[in-house]
Amino acid sequence: MKIVVTVKLVPDTNAAKRIDPATKRLVRTGLETVLNPFDEYAIEAALQLKEKLGGDTTVTVFTMAPETGKETIRKALAMGADDAVMLSDAGLEGSDVWATSYAMAQALKKTGFDLLIAGGLADDGNTGGVPGALAEYLGVPALTNVRKIEEAGDGKIRAQRETDSGYQVVSGPLPSLITVTMAVGEPRYASLKGIMGAKKKTIVTLMLADLGLDRAVGTDGAKTEVLEISAPKPREKARVVEAADGASGAQAIFDFLREKKLI
């Protein structure tokens, strides 16, 4: 079975970020890129499945990112993925969900897959729109918010979908796309042997010219225009309740909540 994991490379999740007011885009220079944290769970789910199925099951990581991301994608190879495909082209800059998923889908058609696993959300763009759009462009079902893959193989997949109140067991044909939640299990550390071996694994680079697109991508293909960006309003200063003892403090808090009609 060929498993492909879509992995976005995002700016270091702990770094302070800045939006360029002129382009209204995130300033990426000077920021280290990391694997999108949710996608590390997707990789973990893929590796678990590979271990379970054995045989000729392979895990390919797929990213659409500038070539400078090669070093970051090696971390996924060090974790245990077999190879990587990078879609890199200056013409992709400025793509929104619409253009990103279109370009990715065309590349993924070339790569081929039985099971496509995505994280639910990217740490930077944060739309959660890509996986659904990918499934649409690729013409495969999307099983979202999977917390456990029960079975996969013989053209079928059965999985548990996390819901607000519990989980549903769903099944579908292969090829399919799934998105996973953090419940699939903590992403493993890249083993040091894996790190040393990652350099020997192949990273195939695709460019726009390899895809034969019939639609514009990048800024020209984007349907979204960011009109305005503003920081969230700072929260009002908390009111500190001071009281002589516990009972009168509790009363003051009770009165406050009552006044706000919260209880």
Partner: protein
């Protein structure tokens, strides 16, 4: 000249850092208090590939270079010196002799399981009356009916008595050289050798979660074939091992110092006195600036020695300089880190108090500060 680490070196540093912060750091205080050897962490380190980091893949290692190894030791020591020495002594003292001097058969039998982290191994040089003067070995081995009969005592041997320790390689006098000096040979002592016993763990000021024991040999019967390296090369070969070991102790010192600096910086921002964070006082800022300056300096020295080793150059002097300097830097840094913490730094629940105790051995183990100065001076031709 290029100060960039390679992609692998960066990734190894990052991975070990994450492991150290997530798995080791939260346990450090308890392990120190309980003097508890962390079997589970050793298992995790083995799975990660740390226990065989610098050895080739064909012998069960990860095939990393010395720079990566030094970075890994630094990151572990930044979280916990005991865990770091367990790993560092295992690689550079326990397993290295087999890698450097073992026959292919000995490598398969010992180096492979050691690099895989399935067992630990001791390096038995020091004796109650032979420390800095390691050539004064009193332990004797006499060949009789196809076995070495070993008698003597070894002191302060790291990793020698855990439940997963497989044995110790020792120096022993096996005869007399033509120049009248003792002939010293390395013998492989398996844990179940009759007549070989380990003491209880020493009670220690620092490195309390690491395993250090006294070893005694009373007519211990060792197969004749358990010679490691050439007969008579024992002291020379062990001193070669210590050259590499100095890089690892130096890395340990830098890591420990950086851990203490991290704590001091954090605390200086949190603690207020006279109405503002103490980090706003210039006296505290100057301490922190000096700490960082010295740590960066020491780190460069360690990485240079490691790089020279990787480039197959003569690294002895650089390693000695790095070991001596970083040991002293770690003392100044832990001292100021405790000072910045005030009275809280004297309390067990603050990591700097443990670091303060863990530091001292950096200036004693694998060649004291005085011995490093002797070695360095000797290399000047003095």
């Amino acid at each position: 000249m290029n100060f960039d680490l390679t992609d692998e070196q960066k990734a190894i540093r990052q991975t070990v850092r994450e492991f150290a912060v997530e798995r080791v750091m939260p346990r450090a205080e308890e392990m120190d208090r309980e003097e508890a050897f962390p079997y589970d962490l050793v298992k995790e380190m083995a799975e990660l590939g740390l226990m065989g980091l610098p050895f080739p893949e064909q012998y069960g290692g990860a095939g990393a270079d010395t720079v990566s190894y030094a970075l890994a030791v630094m990151e572990l020591a930044r979280a916990d010196a005991s865990t770091a020495i367990t790993m560092a002594a295992h690689c550079s003292l326990g397993a290295s002799p087999f890698y450097l001097f073992g026959t292919e058969e000995q490598k398969q039998k010992y180096l492979v399981p050691l690099a895989q982290g399935k067992m630990l191994w001791g390096f038995g040089l020091t004796e109650p009356n032979a420390g800095s003067d390691a050539g004064n070995t009193q332990t004797k081995a006499v060949l009789k009916d196809g076995s070495w009969i070993v008698n003597g005592t070894k002191a302060f041997i790291t990793n020698s008595g855990t439940d997963i320790s497989g044995g110790t390689t020792i120096t022993a006098v096996t005869g007399q050289r033509s120049d009248g000096k003792p002939e010293i040979t390395n013998l492989i002592i398996d844990q179940d050798t009759p007549g070989f016993a380990r003491s209880k763990k020493y009670k220690k000021m620092g490195w309390r979660a690491s395993d250090t024991r006294e070893l005694s040999f009373a007519d211990a019967k060792v197969p004749e074939g358990n010679v490691l390296g050439k007969r008579g090369d024992g002291l020379k070969n062990f001193l070669t091992i210590l050259d590499g070991g100095r890089i690892s102790v130096a890395a340990l010192s830098v890591g420990l110092a950086r851990g203490a600096y991290d704590e001091a910086l954090k605390y200086a921002k949190e603690r207020t006195a006279f109405g503002r964070p103490i980090s706003k006082f210039q006296a505290i800022q100057f301490k922190l600036a000096d700490m960082l300056m010295e740590i960066e300096h020491a780190e460069l020295m360690v990485l240079k020695a490691a790089w020279e080793k990787d480039e197959k150059r003569d690294f002895s002097q650089s390693a000695s300089l790095a070991k001596l300097y970083s040991g002293e830097v770690s003392r100044r840094v832990v001292n100021e880190a405790v000072q910045i913490h005030g009275g809280y730094g004297f309390m067990d629940e603050y990591p700097v108090s443990r670091m303060y105790r863990d530091q001292k051995i950096n200036e004693i183990g694998e060649g004291t500060n005085e011995v490093q100065r002797l070695v360095i001076a000797r290399m000047m031709g003095l």
